[in-house]
């Protein structure tokens, strides 16, 4: 039963309630397992993480690093996780690609 540290930011951290949480997941778990477990524990998080429901792709405005490595250069969401791993769900602000889930922050125009 490995314990994984998950770091989130911006609106994801607001939903989770803090920037860093620890999750214990079953042996043989993957990045997807960890994120699904996190989403199951926090209302409104799943739509921010995945396109569609369970089994969906990661939202393309996010990128995820496992121990500092972009999971797209590993096995994507199916990358296995182990004891002590660190998972970062990152939202690029001044860079990045993909579609947005909308404009979650209100802005004031000058």
């Amino acid at each position: 039963m490995p314990t994984v540290t998950v770091r989130t930011m911006f609106e994801l951290a607001r939903i989770v309630g803090r920037h860093t949480v620890e999750l214990t997941v079953p042996g043989g778990a993957s990045v997807r397992t960890v994120l699904e477990a996190l989403a199951a524990a926090h209302d409104g998080l799943r739509d921010r993480l995945f396109d569609g429901g369970t089994g969906g792709a990661l939202r393309s405005y996010l990128f995820v690093e496992l121990n500092g490595r972009d999971i797209r250069s590993l096995q994507g969401l199916e990358t296995p996780v182990g004891e002590g791993d660190a998972l970062s769900v990152l939202i690029p602000v001044a860079g990045g690609a993909g579609s947005s889930p909308g404009a979650p922050e209100s802005v004031s125009r000058s």
Partner: protein, 621 residues
Amino acid sequence: MMGKILRVNLTTRQITEAPYPEALARWFMGGAAAAVKLLYDEVDPRVDPLGLENKLIVSLGFLAGTPAPATSRVAFVAKSPLTGTVGYANSGGYFPNELRATGVQAVIVEGKAEAPVYLWIGDGRAEIRDAKDYWGLNTIDTQFYLQQTLHDGNIRVACIGPAGERLVKYAAIITERRAAGRKGMGTVMGAKNLKAIAVRGGQKVPLADEAAFREATKVLHAAMKDSPALYHRFRNFGTAGNVELTVGQGDMPARNFQEPAGEEYLAIGGQAGTAYRVRHFTCDQCPVLCAQVRAVTSGPYAGYASEGPEFESLYSLGSDMCIADMGACIALDRLCDELGLDTITFGATVAMAMECYERGILKRGDVDGLDLKFGNHEAAVTLLRKIAFREGVGDLLAEGSRASAERIGGDAPKYAMHVKGLEPPAYDPRGLKSMGLNYMTAFTGADHSRGHSEQEVFGIPVPQAVDRLATEGKPALTIFNQDVGGSVKDSSMLCTFVARLALLPKNLGATVIADLWRAAQGYEVTPEEVVRVGERLTNVARVWNLRAGFTRADDTLPERLMTEPLTTGASKGHVISPADRDRMLDEYYSLRGWDANGVPAAERLAALGLDAPAVDLPVRA
């Protein structure tokens, strides 16, 4: 069509103008790229950067003053007094488009005035005018009083503050509240007794095919609208949102690169910054509104406000000095802008001094009685003023981290974080290997304005997704970022954030620039030719630096970044070892067509259309 080139000799007080050379336009496409070529052609690399023979080249992109968005930007190029390399800084605001409205594309400033002057450029005329009424003023007051005296609030000004007047080696040029901060371009102005350049124009920029230009601009607007972040998070947080990202990656330096910034620095991040924001602001003709005007309303810095701090300044004024206090960062940012200092070199130089103080290399008596421990923001504010006016220990630290550390002596140079004399920006290369190779090879030193590794920092999978902790494949990636990113931004002067957020994810940059060029200039260039501009620029600057005396030995990183692994965070355990450095450099040189010493082969230069200049054997001046 390109505007004219104005040549201003401050020694003889002669001003001449000439049409923009066709070859310079065709091969370098204007902007910073053309300015570096002018430096290459006109300035001996071994001249004293503060002497009569150095020149300050003010250069606009070919899109300045046109309806294309996010292109009101200007390049300042000269031999850098801080590094001795090609010096280049850029800035936005309203000054660039106003200068273009006078019909001018570039200004070459030569010589030195006998007494302080400013350069006035109006519609159809330019004059060298007495600046004794402005010398000594800070940058905000200089702009205000020039506008008042000339009875025109729409005059735009690029100027220096007290730091530039006193030849602080990292003096900035300020345009409105924006800074062309790096590499001491404001110092070059000060050395020429040039306080300001004031401009006011009314001319429309001629376009070869206005209908085609409108169509090409629509493509750019559409790409901007399609960006998931540009009008949403980027507008809301500005570049400060990078704090959250790089803290998450373990790549935001703290304590003079002794550790990565932890969660306590979210107090100076994008989210925290929204509580200080009083309004958004923007450069001319940019719909993004990314600038955050932040004000401090309580605590010791109540009353300070700044247009920023931007991300790089939040590292240099914040985490690098262990200051996790947004109010202090805003105050320091404001004071740097007012007095005309580069925020990055200022913060990095003080962080070096703080480490020397904590290690006992500098004693309290050496630093004018200040308790210069990390985190002491009051001491940082005091030092800022001392540096700008070269008072006490400020005179020592006014030289930048490399030269100051050499003067301090002992082990101090080990704690000066720089490449070729330029202090790194806010990305620790131990966790970003292409960024590290870019710091080593960028022609200006450890620079973030060219060759930024968007793939490693932002996860942009173009040309492909990468493992930021691996060194494999990074030479080719670095060349892609230097040449493609550089050509797109350094010719047109298109804002880096629009290029990064809107164009790079679709790999559209060179295509959009080629289309805009054809419509503006009336003849075709291919996207491949646009990218060649970036390669041409890199090679021209490399040859110039070699002639200035730089060698392969200068293409390196600070010892700490090669020998001390990061201790915490997501990049824990990583360094760029000397073996990593050598392997990446060998491959980088080979891919560039340079020999093992990093000297471009004559055939490669000829293939780029350059005159295959003989490269002198590198000799230290």
